[in-house]
């Protein structure tokens, strides 16, 4: 069992649980740090924290804020536990992107890589989304200006989020992909959302984990990277700077191979998919730790078996 296979298993199971868990009466709560979309309907197994955040802020009462504090606490505990591994191992939308990526790979089409400059410029998108999710609900709660517009803006980020349109579609609910003609506001929001969805699908077919760098949930999760239990670490002396980790990285993090001083290489965008550890050709140059204890590390043998040069070395030997 390689880490990639393990991750696929985790992604498939959590996809089933989060999207179809409701069928067997599962409800994991409203503080999940993944795109567990409530728009999926009764079959959902949990609710995305961003939805609950916007919902509660939109109510605006004192009780609501107390409930928010509680939700935030549970959310924080979950994130501190495994950090952004939620994105790489559990998120249903991440799973969907990985499936599209698999299709691309099976067709032997190459991937697109954005220039660093463009990437840096696009970094603001997740902040914009984040502020939409944080500030507009407050306007909804206290509509001092244009109350009719505010009334139609419930859960504004959700109206833009590709998850709302694509995930229900997966389980055969085509209603979600329609433009909402209720008012000018809803028309704009749904059209924007559908546009983002189309971009996200086409993007994910051409670029690995296309949506992840723009996800406001990812931004929230990345703030916990310093205190979260799972960390990616690097032995700078052992690193040969061969760039393999950068080339296999679905979110294209350069800093991991460029880092020459710090041991901690858990960067903002990192989804902890551990592909870099899996494909690193140096013994012990990269490793994943849980509370400081190494749980997985790179090996030269593992590398060559992954390249199908020597018969398979399973990760059971390195996962302790």
């Amino acid at each position: 069992m390689t880490v990639t296979n393990l991750r696929w298993m985790a992604l498939i199971i959590s996809f089933l649980v989060l999207i179809l868990g409701g069928l067997i009466g599962l409800d994991l709560g409203g503080f999940l740090p993944v795109y567990a979309c409530p728009y999926v309907g009764q079959t959902r197994g949990g609710v995305c924290f961003l939805f609950r955040l916007q919902f509660i802020l939109g109510v605006g009462s004192w009780e609501a804020f107390k409930a928010l504090g509680e939700h935030l606490l549970y959310f924080s505990i979950l994130v501190v536990l495994i950090g952004r591994a939620w994105c790489g191992w559990i998120c249903p939308f991440g799973f969907l992107q990985d499936v599209l990526d698999l299709i691309r790979r099976k067709l032997h089409i190459g991937y697109i890589r954005f220039p660093e400059r463009l990437r840096a410029n696009l970094r603001c998108i997740k902040w914009i989304f984040f502020f939409i999710a944080l500030l507009i609900p407050l306007w909804v709660a206290y509509p001092l200006l244009a109350p009719s517009v505010a009334g139609d803006l419930r859960q504004p980020f959700c109206q833009l989020c590709p998850g709302k349109y694509i995930l229900p579609l997966i389980i055969g609910n085509p209603d979600s992909v329609a433009v909402d003609f209720k008012s000018a506001t809803t028309i704009t929001m749904t059209i924007l959302g559908l546009t983002f969805s189309t971009i996200a699908i086409i993007g994910a077919l051409l670029k690995r984990r296309f949506w992840c760098p723009y996800c406001p949930m990812g931004l929230l999760l990345s703030w916990y990277k310093k205190i979260s239990f799972i960390k990616l670490k690097k032995d700078c002396q052992k690193c040969t700077m061969c760039e393999v980790c950068y080339n296999v990285c679905p979110v294209e993090i350069q800093q991991v191979f460029k880092e020459r001083e710090n041991e901690d290489v858990t960067f903002t965008d990192c989804t902890l998919c551990l592909r870099c550890v899996e494909y690193c050709p140096e013994d012990g140059a990269l490793r994943a730790t849980f509370l400081g204890k190494t749980i997985y590390k790179s090996t030269s043998k593992g590398f060559f078996s992954r390249q199908h040069i020597i018969p398979g070395v399973t990760d059971d030997q390195v996962i302790r």
Partner: protein
């Protein structure tokens, strides 16, 4: 009447010149055979020589002594094999994967021979390094059929000497320059390098195709050749690991020689032979057949590459009672160390992987800044439990000499002595070097005993 006499005289003179050239060439060729054979015989005399080393010795003998490189590179004499192109390469930045995938055979031409360097002497400035002198000498005088066999030669623009060498070589053979960026950190230079490789791929495709039809490098062929070289690298890494054992199992000159032989052999055959050697050495390790005790000083050769038949420095070090456990030269440990990492089988990903492999982990001093080399050396010193470093500088190799100061500084921090040795291919300074190396090894021995 007068004119015809002049013509006659000219003709006689020209004949005489050609005659002299022939004589000169014959003299160099004799010298080359002699010096190569001496080194080979020395290696064979070693009582601890592993059985499987004979394959590598045989390869060098075929190339340098018997001058029958075609037997190695064009094994079968049928029609299709005769059409097989041979592409010469210099340095280690030329992606052999692309050449193999196009159905051609790469052969690395960096010259290490004294006589050839004498032959090249008058074609280049005095201060040029002997590697370039020898390479030009070999090509210009056709000292070995190996250099004639190459249908094209790829020269990467690494150091100044190699760059100008490419220009000089184009007088004698078809040369393709390959522009290597000298700053590897910047995104722009990496992108430009990738473009260079795509252009090279195009060139190779045109070259190996028939008349005007390009012979495309197929995805599967490229994948197969990456795997083939990957296996070679896996075996090279096994040898690397074997050399880490606290008491040496193979002498450094043998190990370096075996790696050096990769230049003149096809990757597939070399890998098979290397697998045999590694298996044999592992058996020896289990039996406890060490070639020296744990107290023998362990040496790392840093700096310019010793290239066969210039086995002067490795031989001297080991004759003086030390053992070479590692070297960081582009003809030794670094040659086949860094593999290509792929996660998918698209041509894009393979090209990106190839581009990364050939420059990013490479610590050739032609790159600047080259901090990576210091990290690499520190790691090697630790891994191989090095007692001392012999810093080999070939006369004229400015860039390696430049980095000596930094290397000395970090090694001082680790309390590892560094001995700089500047020499070329000539045997003249052997006795003087022997004294210096002897003293160095003796000092290391005393330090180790303490």
């Amino acid at each position: 009447m007068n004119e015809s006499t002049n013509e006659q005289i000219d003709e006689i003179l020209m004949n005489k010149e050609a005659d002299q050239l022939q004589k000169r060439k014959a003299r160099f060729a004799r010298g080359l055979v002699r010096s190569a054979e001496t080194t080979l015989a020395e290696l064979e005399e070693n009582p601890d020589l592993p059985e499987s080393m004979h394959y590598f010795i045989n390869i060098m003998r075929e190339v340098f002594v018997k001058d029958r490189a075609h037997r190695l590179l064009l094994p079968s004499q049928n029609q299709s094999a005769n059409n097989r192109k041979i592409i010469g390469t210099y340095c280690l930045m030329v992606p052999e994967e692309l050449i193999y995938a196009a159905g051609a055979t790469p052969v690395r031409l960096c010259g290490g021979n004294y006589e050839a360097s004498l032959a090249g002497d008058e074609l280049v400035p005095r201060d040029t390094c002997p590697v370039v002198k020898a390479s030009i000498g070999f090509t210009s005088l056709n000292l070995m059929s190996l250099y004639q066999m190459c249908d094209a030669v790829i020269v990467p623009t690494t150091c100044d000497a190699k760059r100008k060498m490419g220009e000089e070589l184009s007088k004698f053979t078809e040369v393709w320059m390959l522009e290597v960026p000298h700053i590897k950190d910047s995104e722009g230079s990496r992108r430009q390098w990738l473009q260079q490789l795509y252009a090279l791929k195009n060139n190779i495709e045109k070259f190996t195709g028939k008349s005007f039809i390009r012979r495309k490098i197929r995805r599967k062929a490229l994948d197969a050749s990456i795997k083939m070289i990957g296996s070679a690298q896996y075996q090279a890494r096994r040898l690397y690991d074997i050399r880490k054992s606290s008491a040496a199992i193979i002498s450094g000159r043998d190990a370096m020689f075996a790696i050096n032989a990769y230049s003149y052999d096809t990757a597939f055959k070399w890998t098979k032979a290397m697998t045999r050697l590694n298996d044999e050495l592992e058996v020896r390790c289990h039996k406890g057949q060490f070639i020296c005790s744990e107290h023998t000083p362990r040496i790392l050769i840093a700096g310019s590459p010793p290239i066969f038949p210039n086995w002067k420095i490795p031989s001297l070090i080991e004759e003086m009672g030390a053992v070479i456990v590692a070297d960081e030269s582009c003809m030794g440990n670094r040659y086949l160390y860094d593999p290509i990492g792929l996660t998918e089988k698209s041509v894009t990903d393979m090209m990106v992987g190839i581009a990364a492999r050939y420059i990013m982990p490479c610590v050739c001093p032609s790159f600047a800044p080259n901090e990576d080399r210091l990290f690499r050396l520190l790691q090697m010193a630790e891994e191989f439990s090095i007692d001392g470093i012999i810093y080999h500088v070939l006369k004229g190799c400015v860039i390696y000499d430049f980095e000596l100061i930094r290397v000395e500084k970090i090694m001082k921090g680790k309390n590892i002595p560094v001995l700089r040795i500047e020499t070329d291919y000539s045997p003249e300074d052997i006795e003087q070097l022997r004294t210096r190396i002897e003293a160095f090894v003796e000092m290391l021995g005393i330090r180790k005993e303490r």
